[in-house]
């Protein structure tokens, strides 16, 4: 991703002089540029444009300046959706990275059935988020309460999906269930990149297994942790499918992510208002991506 390597290794020859470009290269590039502009850039500009109007999506509209943005910042529902999304993303990132790292350590140690175990742990990655959310929805609303009441665990006898204070936990669990494999594979790659001699040297010097884990493994995969945390965080901010399958934003508005707020608001006729929301969400996404670039710059040697 770093631009330095791009510039130095990219040039074929005669950089700076204007060599004539063979016309066919324009033909190679043009379809992508045109379709990309029509499919993403134009809608993006239209959206930002309408965020300064009172449009409801169809019919007449007029400019209203920053009214939408001012309203957004004093709208408790919007604030709540951002707080929920960020809080949920942080919780999920932590759960996913701890679980995936421990699994990766286990899966790269001297275990039996290595291939089979790895195959199983990666399965969730290929399953549709909405469908597995429906499956978990059934488990959370029927099986968990049934087990809890037969064991006499109070507090879990009703579905946690119906509890505004606990529903987010279910969303974290299912999102983590699906996100762990991708993270796991990156950690496995990171662990396999550590030369075995390092561990041999450490054990000769008398380092125990736990010391080796904390003093060698963790520092040497730190770069992968940064990648996993940022990639995960970016994905979880867009959470939509799994929440729709579990709670659809409820109970009430307790688990409405920003994406759900935008879409449900739009379905309720708030086109311009939600476009202003989307514009702010875009700024947040850009800020996080810039953070990612500055943190991973020069680390593309992985």
């Amino acid at each position: 991703m770093s631009t330095e390597t791009v510039v130095t290794s990219g040039g074929s020859k005669a950089r700076g002089t204007s060599r004539r470009v063979e016309p066919i290269y324009y033909l190679f590039l043009l379809p992508s540029l045109v379709l990309f502009t029509l499919a993403i850039t134009v809608p993006g500009i239209i959206g930002i444009f309408f965020s300064f109007t009172d449009s409801i999506g169809i019919g007449e509209w007029s400019f209203n300046g920053l009214t939408n943005y001012i309203a957004l910042f004093s709208d408790p529902a919007i604030l709540q959706s951002y707080l929920f999304t960020i809080g949920f993303s942080i919780a999920t990132v932590i759960v996913v990275n701890i679980a995936a790292f421990l699994l990766a350590v286990g899966l790269t140690s001297r275990i039996r059935f290595k291939t089979g175990l790895r195959t199983i742990f990666v399965i969730p990655m290929v399953i549709s988020g909405i469908i597995i959310a429906y499956v978990f929805n059934f488990l959370f609303s029927n099986s968990v309460p049934a087990i809890a009441s037969s064991l006499g665990i109070s507090g879990l006898e009703t579905s946690i999906l119906a509890n505004p204070d606990l529903a987010w936990i279910a969303i974290v669990i299912v999102t983590a269930w699906q996100a762990i494999p991708g993270t796991l594979l990156i950690y496995i790659a990171g662990l396999l990149a550590i030369p075995g001699e390092v561990y041999e040297a450490a054990s000769i010097d008398g380092a125990g297994k736990r010391q080796q884990l904390w003093r060698i493994t963790v520092p040497l995969v730190a770069g992968y942790v940064v990648i996993n945390v940022i990639l995960g965080f970016k994905n979880f901010l867009n959470a939509y499918d799994i929440i729709v399958g579990l709670t659809n934003g409820g109970p009430g508005t307790a688990t409405r992510s920003v994406a759900i707020t935008i879409i449900q608001g739009f379905n309720g006729g708030d086109y311009a208002y939600q476009m202003a929301n989307a514009t702010i969400f875009f700024v947040v996404a850009v800020l996080i991506s810039l953070l990612q670039l500055s943190l991973t710059r020069g680390r593309n040697a992985f």
Partner: protein
């Protein structure tokens, strides 16, 4: 340096001095299987397999048995009625066909368009237009779908793309940035001499691309294709918002048929979930090595 031969003979001396039983224990220590780790990991697979077991066993129950809400009991008797009903209710062949069309279209379009654009960019890096185009295409990595979703819903509706083809177009464009990034990185590692020799043999740029470059890109195309496949096959948000005709929906979106609170036909619902999940899981089991390598490569590079 002189001490090295002496050092390396030391273990040999040690082996000679060791009794056979000591030798065996030495070797065992080196290849000792981490059984406790193996057992813990096998227990952890329950978290992955349990939801899948529930899906399978529920789908094979009769409606009468499924209604009792006990997710973990085995089907007694086995019944395939759920599958028959789900097949008819969701119009499975149509849904599967559309999912297949969207997925195949997205995978093919992503690979071709991204390979075209990347080739043009890398070979003309010294030209500003191509360099800027690269950054322009990359910029979409900053844009999550929810940000531009609302204008896209409107625009696709207006130009008659509120159908699977619109989804193919948009999904491809959202995959493009990442894929161009992977392809350009790979293309830069291909020595230009290889291409020059092809040109000496009389091949023009078009022929060089198809006969030399595209085959060379195959491993990266596999990675790009796997990411596009997982996205297009499993996505719920985009098709549910873009495709306006319910009869033209993809498989994941069709599952919302069973989200009516008052329907108790759990066996039908789970049979339907299973039929929607199974193709991706089976495809994964046959190609798992590529999928794991591809995802690792893509995620680490991206």
């Amino acid at each position: 340096m002189t001490s090295q031969p002496a050092l390396s003979t030391e273990p040999a001396v040690a082996y000679e001095a060791a009794t056979p039983s000591e030798l065996r224990s030495l070797r065992e220590k080196k290849e000792r299987v981490n059984w406790s780790g193996t057992v813990i990991l096998i227990l952890c697979t329950v978290t992955v397999l349990l939801p899948l077991y529930v899906t399978i066993s529920m789908s094979l129950k009769t409606t009468e048995q499924a209604v009792d809400g006990n997710a973990f009991s085995l089907p007694a008797p086995f019944s395939f009625d759920g599958f028959v009903e789900a097949w008819n209710l969701t119009k499975f062949p149509v849904g599967a066909g559309i999912s297949l069309l969207v997925t195949a279209g997205t995978v093919a379009a992503t690979i071709i368009l991204a390979a075209f654009a990347s080739y043009a960019v890398v070979r003309n890096w010294d030209h500003r237009l191509f360099r800027y185009s690269f950054y322009y295409l990359l910029a979409a990595m900053f844009i999550p779908f929810p940000v531009v979703a609302l204008p896209q819903i409107q625009l696709t509706g207006r130009v008659g793309l509120d159908n699977p083809f619109g989804v193919i177009l948009l999904a491809t464009m959202f995959q493009l940035s990442f894929s161009v990034l992977l392809f350009t990185a790979f293309l830069r590692s291909i020595p230009i001499e290889l291409e020059e020799s092809a040109r000496i043999d009389g091949a023009n740029t078009w022929q060089t691309f198809w006969r030399l470059i595209f085959p060379l890109l195959a491993p990266m195309s596999a990675t790009v294709g796997i990411f596009a496949f997982l996205y297009a096959w499993n996505d719920f948000m985009m098709p549910s918002l873009i495709i306006s005709d319910p009869d033209l929906q993809t498989l994941p979106v069709r599952q919302n048929l069973f989200q009516n609170q008052f329907s108790n036909n759990y066996n039908v619902a789970f049979a339907s979930y299973l039929m929607a999940m199974a193709p991706a899981i089976i495809a994964y089991l046959f190609t798992q090595r590529w999928v794991m390598e591809g995802v690792t490569q893509g995620a680490v590079k991206g």
